[in-house]
Structures are given as structure tokens and as C-alpha cells.
Symmetry: C3
Subunit: 196 residues, 3 copies
């Protein structure tokens, strides 16, 4: 499960390199930063070190292999944009719930666990955008609900965990809220207010 | 005290979102990054983990509430620029001294403690500016003394602490130096040399 | 040895401030970030805290002194570009091998140790470029092999260490590979493929 989220985020990192005269290494770094940025931020903030991808070297392998394959396939294969958006929404749902769960498990307060879940879900994409010199996509109104979807799903997960601990119900429910809200927001162009 | 500094910095984060098509969530992240960036950097570098705002969830509450209120008030209420600058200078003074003191307390050498004090004071603003795609304000000549004021005040604090330990004298004196230098630099346009 | 690498990287940080209306303090921060960014990232990821430059205050002294001297000399003294490139390549070689070795010593798997060696070598420059609003130099095709040279040298070092532990052979060999590849790539304009 975690490996598939890592792969999806790695592809989104490679895609950010398009049109910017970035070489294979740059694309690889963008892939790794997008894939591991969120989990790394969470582990650093919690002090759970070394961070996850340093302890489990297979994650690095998955991200690197995906990035290299993606690098050479991007110019050749036409992947439908909708598929990418759907895969990314699944990755967001998965990674946010994993992050929230980990923070709860390490004793974080509910509001902190929700925040760290959102950090896990969105920090990689923020770093990716900063590295290519753009204002992060998740900050922008026209992205539709993204972090907000993660926030709602993480909150549902934490609430259900306190009622029915054990993750069998809470984890799928939280992930479904994220996926559903994200896709609905894209479909019906739901946006947050913007600062005038 | 710390909560008021958090609130001031959170407002400066929200204000950075103006005119950039950033939505409520983006403004909230900018507020949190500005408010907690410096302390987070300090705690990470020192290895004092989990970082402060993870241990004390009330800080997150203060920053979030301030950011949300600020988001909806910014377009409506006209706050005088001078008040913002004064509040920010107070925040800088407070946060720098708290950061220096914490580093000293964890056994850092004097030069390191001063450096970490400055990091605590300015890193949040640097991150805020990077996230909206601008060269950090504190690097720029026309900002007048900002980090330099923090540096001098932190040095005064460390020097006084070695003479008269106990913070009763050293902390207010260090903070006064920062506030005084910062306001004097704005008033009389004192600047550092620029790289030609 | 480490101090000379710190000095070389600090100069590259100061040079990044040219033409951007950045003052002495901004140039100093850029110098410190470039000099310590890589080692700080490595120590954070590994959880070896406080980070190196906090434990050994002489490193901060070296970087600060170099940055201040460099700041006032840059507009006056004409340093040949080739010398800067050569010094930077030496710094990259040294810092990458030190980083790889440290990660191995803390029990990281070979692929992770190589990755952390590259992080140690290039993260400072990436942060420097992000802080002045540019796409990192190491991501760009026209930089010729940079991180790739670091990667190959770190891999050679790790491979030789497993055969002939003790660093007498492996460390100079790994560093020589980095230096040789980097200089050869510049001389013969060797580049990685770019994403079309």
C-alpha cells in the first residue's frame, strides 16, 4: 500500500520537471522529495528518527525505479490526465491516514495528529513546487479542495478511532472521505475562499 | 507571552498571501509556517524533539484561530502599517530571546546560542517568503536592520547572562536592544552594506 | 579538511547573493546555508542530533569569517572562474565522502549511505538556490554532471569499503572519482538526458 503511494507521488515529482530544462538527476530528486517529503517532515517533527525511508531501503528503491521509468516514459506514453488526478487522490488519502495514525500511535493530541496527517499528505508536493520555483499548488484556489479534503478525512479518522479503536472502520472511512471530497471538489469545482 | 508572538507572526503569514490567488488553506499554512518555522528549526537543530508546537497543542490553536480571524478581517479592517511593524518588532524581540535562552539551557556554546536565537527569530519569515516565491525580506537591504537587530540583542542577552544569571536583567535588556535597534533602523533608514 | 570544504561552500553562498540587492546579513545566511545545509540534512535524516555544526562551534566560526571576508573581497578581487569551479569540485568530493562514511558508520544500508552522501554534497547548494528564487543548479542540464559525479564516487567508496575496510583506499578513491568525473564533465560537456 505504502509503496503504491510512494510510486504515485514519485511520478508527480517527475512530471513537475517538464519544460524546465531539468535533467534526469533533477527529476529524480523531485520524485524523491515528493514521495518522501511528507513522511520525512512528520518523522522530523515527531522526533521519530532516523526517518522512515532511511530505515526501510525498499521505499527508496520503489521511488527511484518509478522515477527512472517515468522519466523515460513521460515523453512517449500519453497518460490520461484524469487517471493521474485519480491516482494522486488515492495517494493523498492513503498517505494522510497513515500519517495521522502514526502520530496518534506516538501519543500526539488529536488536533496535532490531524495536522501531522495533513503534513504527511501535502508537504512533499509543497517542497516539489518550491524546488521548481512555483507557488505550491495546494495553496492555490484553482486546485480545488486538496489539503482541506485531507484535513476532513484525518478528522473523521481520529473521531472514529476514539469511538471504535482498531482501524478496521476508521482507516477506510477516513480515506474514503478524503478521496470522495477531493474528487467531488474537482467534479463540481468546489473551492475555498481566496484572500482579496 | 509566547502566544502573543505566535499570533503576531501568524498575521504576517496571512498578509503574505495577499494578491497571490492563495486560498484559506494556503493562508493558514503560511501563518503556521511563519509562526512555528523558527522554533521548529531551532528544536530540530538542537534535537529537542518532538518540536515545541507538537508538545503544546494550545500553540497550534492560537495560530490557527488568529490566522482564520485574520483571513476574514484583512480585506475589511484597515490596520495601520506602523502598528504591524511595531507588533512584528515586538514578536522578533520576544522570540529571539526565548530561542537564545532555550539553546543556552540545552548547553549550546555562546556563539551557537546566539545563532539559534536569530534562527528562531527569522527562519519563519524566510520560509514564508520562499513559499510565496520571493527572496526573503530579511536578506534585502531595504528591510533595514532586522536579523542584525536580533543578533545584537541575543549577544547582549548571552553576555549579561554570564555576568548576572537568572534572566531578570538579561532577558528584558536583550529584548529592548532588539526592539530599539529595529525601530531605530526603520526610523533613520539604517542599512547594512549590499553586495555589489 | 572539513573546514576547507566549509569555506569553499561559504564562498559559493556569498557569490549567489550578487545582483540581488541582498545585504551582508543575507549573504551570511546564504553562506551558512550552503556550507551547513547538506550536513544538517544528513544529520536530521539520520537522527544524529544536535547537528554537527551545533556541536563543533569552530565550524560556524570558519564559515562566518569566510563569508564576511568574501563579502568585502568579491567586488574588489577578480577570482578566476576556473579556480572557483575547481575548489567547488574538491568541496563536493570531500563532503560527499564524509557524508557517506558517516551514514555507513551509523549503520545505514549501502544504498541509503550513498543517497545520504549525495544529500550531504548537494543539499546546501539546492537550499542556496531556492533562497534566491532560482531552480537549483544541480537540477539543470547545463551544469554538467554534478550530483551524478557525487553518486558514482559515493558508490565506489561504499563498494571498496566492503572489500577493503579502513578508508585508506576507499576514501581517496571515491573522492578521486567525484573530482575526476566532475572535471571531465565540464571539460567535455558531458550531460544527462533532459525531460522533453
Amino acid at each position: 500500500m505504502e509503496h503504491s503511494a510512494v510510486a504515485v507521488f514519485a511520478v508527480s515529482g517527475v512530471l513537475a520537471a517538464r519544460g524546465k530544462r531539468i535533467d534526469l538527476f533533477g527529476a529524480l530528486v523531485l520524485a524523491l522529495v515528493t514521495a518522501f517529503g511528507g513522511g520525512t517532515a512528520r518523522d522530523l517533527l515527531l522526533g521519530d528518527l532516523p526517518v522512515a525511508w532511511i530505515r526501510d531501503a525498499t521505499l527508496l528503491l520503489t521511488a527511484t525505479a518509478t522515477a527512472v521509468v517515468g522519466f523515460f516514459m513521460v515523453p512517449v506514453v500519453e497518460v490520461p490526465g484524469r487517471l493521474l488526478v485519480f491516482a494522486d487522490a488515492c495517494g493523498l488519502a492513503l498517505v494522510t491516514i497513515i500519517g495521522t495514525e502514526k502520530a496518534l500511535g506516538l501519543g500526539a493530541a488529536p488536533t496535532i495528529a490531524i495536522t501531522l496527517g495533513v503534513v504527511t499528505g501535502v508537504a512533499g508536493g509543497i517542497l516539489r513546487d518550491v524546488l521548481v520555483g512555483e507557488i505550491p499548488l495546494v495553496f492555490r484556489r484553482d486546485t480545488n479542495l486538496y489539503a482541506t479534503a485531507a484535513l476532513c478525512g484525518a478528522a473523521v479518522f481520529v473521531a472514529l478511532e476514539s469511538w471504535l479503536p482498531g482501524r478496521e472502520v476508521s482507516a477506510p472511512a477516513g480515506a474514503a472521505v478524503i478521496l470522495g471530497l477531493r474528487l467531488a471538489a474537482i467534479r463540481w469545482k468546489i473551492v475555498l475562499p481566496e484572500l482579496r
